[in-house]
Symmetry: C2
Subunit: 287 residues, 2 copies
């Protein structure tokens, strides 16, 4: 692994996800908690204005504003579009190598590490899963997301996604579990920088994003069905299983041929994006 010189921990990319925001506040008060011997650690409270409003964003989702062409487009002047340009400039000036972006979700996903196609970061995620098997690895498709996320500013990057936490709520258990994950990540980077990387498992389980599924809507665009109550994040969904229940009691079933694993079931913020859940495939990857 190439030596990492500068790590950025980001919270408050969404103003109503309190876990990351209060962790950043804690680290800014007690910076020794995140300092390590062979790299620098920075913190960023990304969108304090949206936190004041206890909203995901002021005008548009900051975490969709980081496509390279959008950052270069002078016509994009919504509040978060301007904020994204400022944040990108800050990352470039500081020469950030590694970005850790802290999120929470209303879905019951437990502890999830979201990675992209970077194998070095996948190894790190596999290490986290090997010491705590409840940590899931979710691999995002760049095709679907087009590097629009804040974390893509780091050459190496991951997001920590924890839930279920309602928006605007500070929840001690997942706060502490996120804090432990951050310690483990920083320790791993410190060891890797000394070529003393911990022993990794031979392989790991990865949930790779396939596609998003929207809510059924009526002719006025109104949601006309609920997600079936038995659906659970990271649990298999097979052809014929119930996906949605109509308000008249009718069922809509899954019709895909392969077994898939839904995640982000009932994530509140995704309703406006017309996403009821995200489907993944479950893979074993050799390390």
């Amino acid at each position: 692994m190439k030596k990492i010189d500068k790590v950025m921990i980001v919270g408050g990319t969404h103003g109503n996800e309190f876990t990351g925001i209060y962790l950043i506040k804690k680290y800014q008060k007690f910076p020794h908690l995140i300092s390590r011997s062979n790299f620098e650690t920075f913190t960023l409270f990304a969108n304090p204005k949206s936190f004041e409003l206890v909203k995901r964003y002021v005008e548009t989702d900051l975490n969709r504003c980081f496509k390279i062409e959008d950052l270069a487009n002078p016509d994009l002047i919504k509040y978060e579009q301007l904020l994204a340009k400022k944040i990108a400039q800050h990352f470039a000036q500081e020469k950030i190598d590694f970005t850790i972006d802290l999120h929470s979700t209303t879905s019951n996903m437990g502890l999830t590490i979201i990675v992209d196609d970077n194998f070095v970061v996948l190894q790190l995620a596999a290490y986290l899963n090997s010491i705590n098997p409840s940590v899931k690895i979710l691999q995002y498709s760049s095709a679907i997301n087009q590097k629009s996320h804040l974390r893509s500013l780091g050459n190496f990057n991951l997001a920590i996604e924890v839930g279920a936490i309602a928006n605007g709520v500070l929840e001690a258990k997942l706060f502490q579990e996120t804090e432990i994950l951050i310690q483990q990540i920083l320790d791993y980077i410190e060891l890797s920088n000394q070529d003393k990387k911990p022993i990794l498992p031979d392989k790991c389980t990865v949930y790779r994003q396939l596609t998003n599924i929207g809510y059924p809507r009526d002719e006025n665009g109104e949601i006309k069905a609920m997600i079936a109550p038995e659906l659970q994040d990271y649990q298999p969904l097979k052809k014929g299983d119930r996906l949605f229940l109509d308000f008249n009691g009718e069922e809509i079933t899954y019709q895909g041929d392969s077994v898939v694993y839904p995640v982000f079931i009932s994530e509140a913020a995704y309703i406006e994006k017309s996403v009821a859940m995200s489907l993944t495939e479950k893979l074993q990857i050799q390390l």
Copy 2:
């Protein structure tokens, strides 16, 4: 029980509590579900504008705007203050006897019936608890709440409070359980109107609101501690039990002499009201 002629079911008093809103939409589409032989049932989607914004309210909490002196005060002209006057007028014109207001909470409270001091409604709640023991009865103090809630427009009234549900999320299981409760309430009123009230238990357990507890805050007013993760709604809290954990790991313990039962633990909307939880006493009431 005095004969009930007109029942009003209200959803969307808070625009981000989707259970009640989608139930009202369902009832407006299928009114036969709530029609009964000896009284009229009405529905009200109280604050559609806040639903469009997926916010609790537009300018101020509608469910604190119904004090009689506030309704009569011409200087109160925030959006929800005006809306409250209009709703109060509607209830008066329709001569509503009984109000059922549908709410959800980010606290893990399960199914709760909130009542005031009306003994007839307490009997109804005791009946609901007798057929489904997981239904809790929470009695609000008029002293703390000063009849500021929408439901106080009905001479007889209750709120159904279900959780945990994140704001802005439609959740099938609690939706269906709320729907069953409404059916049971309407059936009970129908039987009572015929003097065929179902057999009631001899006594019931009531959690009576005592006081609210705020978050510890620093000199800038910022929250400086989290609710201890082991705290659970409706579970006993004794002197010396942990209440909060400071970000430096220090504990703040409960110092009251009597055993109390917290509810609304981590309700997102109450953070702005400086309420971390509400404390209740557990009572057995003879019926």
